[in-house]
Amino acid sequence: MKKYWQLLLIAGIIVVTFTVHYIQVANAKGKDYDFTFEKISGDDKYIDSLMFKTSLQYGMVYNSLLISKDESSLIETVHNREIPLMFQKLIDEHKNFMRGKALIANNYFEDDTKLIYMKEPEEGWKVKAGDTYSYEVDILDKVKDEKTSFSIKSQLNNRYNWVFYSDITVVNNELKLIVKQVDNDGSEKMYQVIIDLKKQQLLSETLLEEAAIDEATRTSIEAYNSYSNLGHEKYHVYSISSFDMKSPELNLISSQFRAINMETNEIIDIQLPDGLEQKLQSIEVDDNYLVIAYSTKEGIVIYRYNIGQQRWLEPITASNTEKVLNPDLNSTTSLNGKLYVMTEVNNDFVLKIFDIQQGALLYEGKVINKNMKQKYYIHITDVYELESK
């Protein structure tokens, strides 16, 4: 036995060292990334069944972290390529259907009975002049677990560089798409495309907006609906903004907000209160409401617009309990009628939950980690309802 001492020594050191190391790593993952909520005011029940997807910056490392009342877990990435949570769920549930599909939320629509995927049309530079692109639709019948596909040629003959979907929804067997075409020079066109799902026919392609670019100004169209919502949203909210090309920071000249009623196809103008367009820090669309928020040294100001009734509600001002170093809003997100706002207060991160319709502050609490040794930054990217166990 003793003539094997070198072999045993090396093998022993290897086993012990690696075991200890990976145990330490596992411990650290549990401890270091353990975030808890410390209530300041309001009711705990508003965070009970929620899971927050956050982006954590710790030193020079960025991680995605899922935080719920009871536990925090790091999202495993392989070579920094992470599959967004909602797609992970879709992949788990419909593995075969999801194969080879691009993971772009705007290309999907999901409801109780079906899952629809639109393949991004060919890039314009691949399409020869005179040709056009096709709308390629994949439909998964969730009930029967059957897949149907069809493709319809677009009737538009514009020159374009790039086409993509801003929104996909289904209303009464009509597949309604908000399609954006971007030309070589950056100018944009926004279309509403309606396809009859049963007959698999193209019903209409309507130009809604055009955003041109010239030397003096640059106009662009931007959508504000929640990225991670794959289901039906009543209104598609967007803005057409003009920027001054001559100024180094591309100053905002004007911004016009509009909402498309996805059921009636009607377009509603939304007039912002004076000066608000220059102060926008966060914009959320939650069902019937457009919520705009910004932060000042004194606190957070929240503007709510009831899209259906076409009126602005009383702005909410939530004062800071402590002095805030960074007046910019950290992050916001919305879900089911509630607005979730994260602000950085000194070295803590404070979560506030507001009821959008009533304007009340439902919960205020710190998101803290006692174990982290150095400065970290955390902001919320999404909030999910936890599946009831």
Binding site: K3, Y4, Q6, L7, I10, A11, I13, I14, T17, F18, H21, Q24, V25, A28, K29, D32, Y33, Y58, G59, V61, E76, V78, R81, I83, I91, R99, G100, M372, K373, Q374
Partner: protein, 274 residues
């Protein structure tokens, strides 16, 4: 099995002196690096703070505190790792060629042992693995030592403690010590396959000489091709999910290793030339 272990022991022992020297060299280089980078940082910090009339917290805000990163990005660490890797890489070849060269032809003895000749192959493969893992294990310990040394040299306020997860996310370290089990298996299977393929290539050369080098080259290309099959399929069809590709490549790697072993066994039994 018994003979295999005895052969592993034989191979380990004959390299152990050189291996120990290598370890000592790496340890020395990194300890020196720890002392040098931290001392340099401290003197630099002190000079700057005096010259620019800064407080400690001001200095940290502008220039950053000292952390293990300072050491990890220094030449002392980087070069010592590269040096060790290069030496082991050379030994992947030399572990075979040493048996043919020189006054002594140990290969005669190895081939005349009353044991399956593939045990010689397995023993050399195992030895390389042991030496590689041995070095990486030692590096983990060494980083702890470096951490302790720098902590003693750099004053507390200028020293930044870092989480183990953060430290091991640094470029080179996340390659050697992957935190995802899938990646760990993936990297090390690929590594083993590479060594196995090199070994079999060497046996081609030793069996067929000049023609053997040509055969070895073709064999290597085929081996790489096999491992890449899932990747090529993915490029064409875009059918698989990322973690499925990692699993598939790992699987095809194992296949390639099996092929390497099969060919090596054949060459050692029927074609080898002393």
């Amino acid at each position: 099995m018994n003979h295999y272990i005895k052969l592993v022991n034989f191979e380990v022992k004959r390299f152990s002196k050189l291996y120990l020297s290598l370890i000592i060299a790496v340890v020395a280089a990194q300890i020196i690096g720890a002392i040098v980078t931290s001392s340099f940082y401290v003197s630099n910090a002190e000079t700057t703070m005096v010259r620019d009339q800064m407080t400690v917290s001001d200095y940290i805000l502008t220039y950053g505190a000292y952390s293990l990163q300072n050491f990890l990005f220094s030449e002392y660490f980087f070069l010592s790792v590269i040096f060790a890797a290069a030496l082991l890489m050379i030994y992947v070849f030399f572990i075979w060629y040493r048996d043919w060269l020189g006054k002594s032809s140990v290969i005669y003895r190895l081939l005349m042992l009353p044991t399956a000749r593939r045990n010689v192959y397995f023993a050399k493969l195992t030895t390389i693995l042991l030496f590689v893992f041995g070095l990486t294990a030692m590096q983990i310990i060494l980083l702890e030592v470096v951490n302790q040394i720098t902590q003693r040299i750099v004053p507390d306020q200028l020293w930044m403690d870092e989480s183990i997860i953060y430290i091991y996310s640094t470029e080179l370290l996340d390659l050697l010590y992957p935190q995802s089990p899938l990646l760990f298996v993936f990297y090390y299977v690929i590594g083993i396959t590479a060594v196995a393929v090199i070994f079999t290539s060497i046996l081609f050369e030793r069996s067929y000489h000049l023609k053997g080098i040509f055969l070895a080259f073709i064999y290597c290309v085929i081996s790489v091709g096999i491992v890449m099959v899932p990747v090529i399929v993915q490029i064409i069809t875009n059918y698989f999910y990322t973690n499925e590709i990692y699993l598939l490549v790992t699987g095809f790697s194992v296949l390639t290793t099996a092929l390497a072993i099969y060919l090596a066994d054949y060459l050692l039994k029927r074609k080898i030339n002393v």
